[in-house]
């Protein structure tokens, strides 16, 4: 089971964090700090896996963003790379060639997308189409609730 997923920039700024196992806030911050520091110092030629405490860290860089997942000993590192890639593909489809700014300004949408791909640290949907369909339907529900023309003022803006 995936324990947590972190997205951070090359400057070490956290862009998204998803914790599938309960941790005190202090521990979350420390883990994030440690991992960001460790991964940013690794050279691009090195392999994508790290042994860290009792977990395996799988990370991959896409443009300026690092996607970093912590998985358990019994999980498949290579497949975790595929999960990361799937998530990136979904974001890409949704935002239309996604960039870091999309994720910064629409972080809640990035979370919604992740929550349709994974649940409780496990993959829940293996079809890209189904994930995007579910997201589109929910976005539509949201739009219908917001009076036309007032979206900017009344929605999240």
């Amino acid at each position: 089971m995936m324990q947590f997923m972190l997205l951070f920039s090359r400057q070490g700024k956290l862009r998204l964090q998803k914790w599938y196992s309960a941790q005190p806030d202090k521990a979350k911050k420390k883990i994030t700090r440690d991992l960001v520091a460790t991964i940013l110092t690794r050279k691009p030629k090195m392999c994508s896996f790290l042994e860290w405490r009792e977990l395996k860290i799988v990370y991959k860089r896409y443009a300026s963003l690092y996607f970093c997942c912590a998985i358990e000993q019994s999980d498949n590192e290579l497949l975790t790379l595929e999960i990361i890639h799937r998530y990136v593909e979904l974001l890409d489809k949704y935002f239309g060639s996604v960039c870091e700014l999309d994720i910064i300004f629409n972080f809640e949408k990035a979370y919604f997308m992740l929550d349709e791909l994974m649940l409780g640290g496990e993959v829940q949907e293996t079809s890209k189409k189904n994930v995007l369909k579910a997201i589109a339907a929910q976005d539509l529900l949201q739009e219908e609730e917001t009076p036309q023309g007032f979206f900017e003022d009344h929605g999240l803006g």
């Binding site: 309960a22 392999c47 896996f49 009792e54 790379l81 972080f107 649940l119 293996t126 929910q138 929605g155």
Partner: protein, 912 residues
Amino acid sequence: MANAIKQVINEVAEKVKMPSTPTRLRDLIRQIRAARTAAEERAVVNKECAYIRASFREEDSQWRCRNVAKLLYIHMLGYPAHFGQLECLNLIASPRFTDKRIGYLGAMLLLDERQDIHVLITNSLKNDLNNPVQFIVGLALCTLGAIASPEMSRDLASEVERLLKSTNAYLRKKAALCAFRIIGKVPELMEMFLPATRSLISDKNHGVLITGVTLIIEMCERSPDTLIHFKKVVPSLVRILKNLIMAGYSPEHDVSGVSDPFLQVKILRLLRVLGHNDAEASEAMNDILAQVATNTETSKNVGNAILYETVLSIMHIKSESGLRVLAINILGRFLLNSDKNIRYVALNTLLRTVHADNSAVQRHRATILECLKDPDVSIKRRALELSFALINGSNIRAMMKELLAFLEKSDAEFKAQCSSGIVSATERFSPNRRWHIDTLLRVLIAAGNFLRDDVVSNTIQIISESTSLQGYAVGQLWRAVSCSSGSLQHDGQPGDLDLQGATLPISERQPLAQVASWCLGEYGDSLINGHTNANEQEEPVVAGEDEVVDFIQGILSSSQSTIITKQYALTALTKLSTRFSVTVGRIEDIVTRFGTHLNVELQQRGIEYAQLFTKHVALRPAIMERIPPMEHKSSQQGLTNGSSGGGGTLVSNGDDNMLMDDLSSFTTTSTSHSAPATKDSNSLLNLLGGLDNFDNGPSAPVFTNSKASTAPSTSNLDLLDLLGGLDLSGSTLSSAPISGPLMTTPTGSSTSSLVNNNLANLLSSPTTQMSAAVSNSSSFLIDGFLGTAPTPSPKLQNVTAYDKNGLKVDFSFDRPVDNPNLVIVTLTASSSYGSTLCDFLFQAAVPKTFQLQMMPASSTVINSGIPVTQVMRILNPTRAVLKMRIKLSFSRDGMTIQDQDEVKNLPSALWQ
């Protein structure tokens, strides 16, 4: 112009809106991003937080959603956001979908199962799980899966079970993963999900299939009964997998030409769980595993992910031998892959299977050795571990050649690990003594200052044992040191040690200097006489007395030599005074000068040794006698106690007769405590501090297994210390005042008068001394054992004292019948994930009514598959309740891990 007007209008609009409309989320993000300094950002955030708080206080529900969303962004930047928790609950309770969506997102980010507030959420979840809108149910399920607590799981399990049977696949898959999390929290709830789970894997929807398989894996891993229950799904799983690999292209689930790899991997994992130790189930899956292994497209990462999972399954079940060979060959191909991730995975998996299928892995030895040259440290480290696992008696020469080459070129972080690995491998598999000594010397030369201490003591031990090669060793060492110190040119004898790379100054090779000093001290005369060839054909290495003394003087006067090295050198020099003839005057001169050395240890040594040149000159030849060959350590393989040349440690908190009678054990006391390790004593103090928690208050008996490899010369000197102390007290050994653990009293005066020949021998051979201590205690053990044999004491349950950070420590207990107050605890330390743990140090403390005696650990290095054992003897005369605090330190992959803990689950049978 138009722009200007627009701007004015905007500003007016802002002003009019200001009191009612809060900053929009994207505007806030923009403002925060515009901040140029951390202080500026803080100001923006604080202002906004103040606004949000005020708005929350006014219970403004119109903007609640936007405010919580902003708070979530602020939270991600690391600012406190706990005051938004209740607002999330309010949003969830709102009928609007937008509110719920943000509310649940906030709940997942700001709450988790440890917070009391989240109990409040249970009711809202229950309502939403019954909502007619599938996406609202979906949000509730997602949140439940993320933050479920045990109570929440119990309250909502029946709702989840109902949704598991829903006709809607979107809800079924989410409910399946919720059930998976619920079982993780409350395993006894598994029962109620069983009937609905079975039908999940006959579903067509891949989302339902993969979540269903995930749920079944969790159930099978948690309960053996359920595992048997699900054995009958093996044929269905095989069919699904077959359809996946045989079916043509399906755009919906295709990933670079592979059909739904996510599902394939999950099914392979479930097959592994079901087929483990079950010949019948394994038989049913042999074919499909072979098909997956041969039919999977391997040009992309995704295909390799599946192959990797297949290999793991093949190795884990009772598969056919042909299939196992196929699996190892897949890993062999992985090793040649250009993708370093795949190479890494291959090495890791081979490391896990090497103990089961050594011969199959051997075939890929060359490839594995090739990986030692990989630039990536993760790969290098795995390859190194794997290489050591592959060494055996028949390949050791070839392997060692590669490993020594690696050692010479490797970075500092690998040198320690690699050299210790070489030392233990040579101990087990050396074809002959001379090769063994040659290899150890090469390690000393190549690893420089990065050697672990145990290599020095091991090398000395081996040289001392091999009486016929002592001269040879001293010759080779002389060649090495004289070459690297630059005073002599290497004359390149064929057949001699290859000293390439021996160009570092001796200060960069302290361990080499230490071994060389020791050997020169013991066997320096053979260097002068030219008895340094291993056989008649070879040219002996010869040196003059002055050259040798020059060399040692060089070490002693160099500011770059460590104190330990100087201690070795000074003792060696004194010893040489009885082996050399023309340079005795010079030696006396040098030794005497150390009487005023700044370092207390060296100064004391200087004064003591100087006495042997003046007042007690008659005693010198006897005291400086050659050390008899050290006994062979019984347990180089690291399976029994007392092997690594260190001292077992005994400390008592006062008048303990048993210890007093035992000279050897009490000398070891001093050894470990005066060992120059301030770090150790600090940690001891810490440990004592920690004892305050015990009812009995702070206590004195603390035992360390010190550094299992106290440098021999230090122990030498410490023994002298001890004698010094005894001499002062002017009494016999048995009445020596032992005031406590830190009893050594360094005194410089008139030590030698009491020192007789016998003691001197003991003095100079700490290792024999240690083994005496060990054999002594083991006879104790045997006594106890013999006592129990006829009437075995009740079997005591083993206890896991520690299982964290990759280290597992188990205790097994024994209570000899003839001494019911005694408990013998054997601890077994093993590495949980197959990685090698070094510098293992275990310390324990018990309340002061107990007496604890700690035997040395079998090794300081825990290799995967080879656990380390250590014996503790606990005397409990008052039959009090046993409590124990432990402190551990070890390093894994170069990282030092320290931890302490209280052993809670000690069986009460130990003191009843």
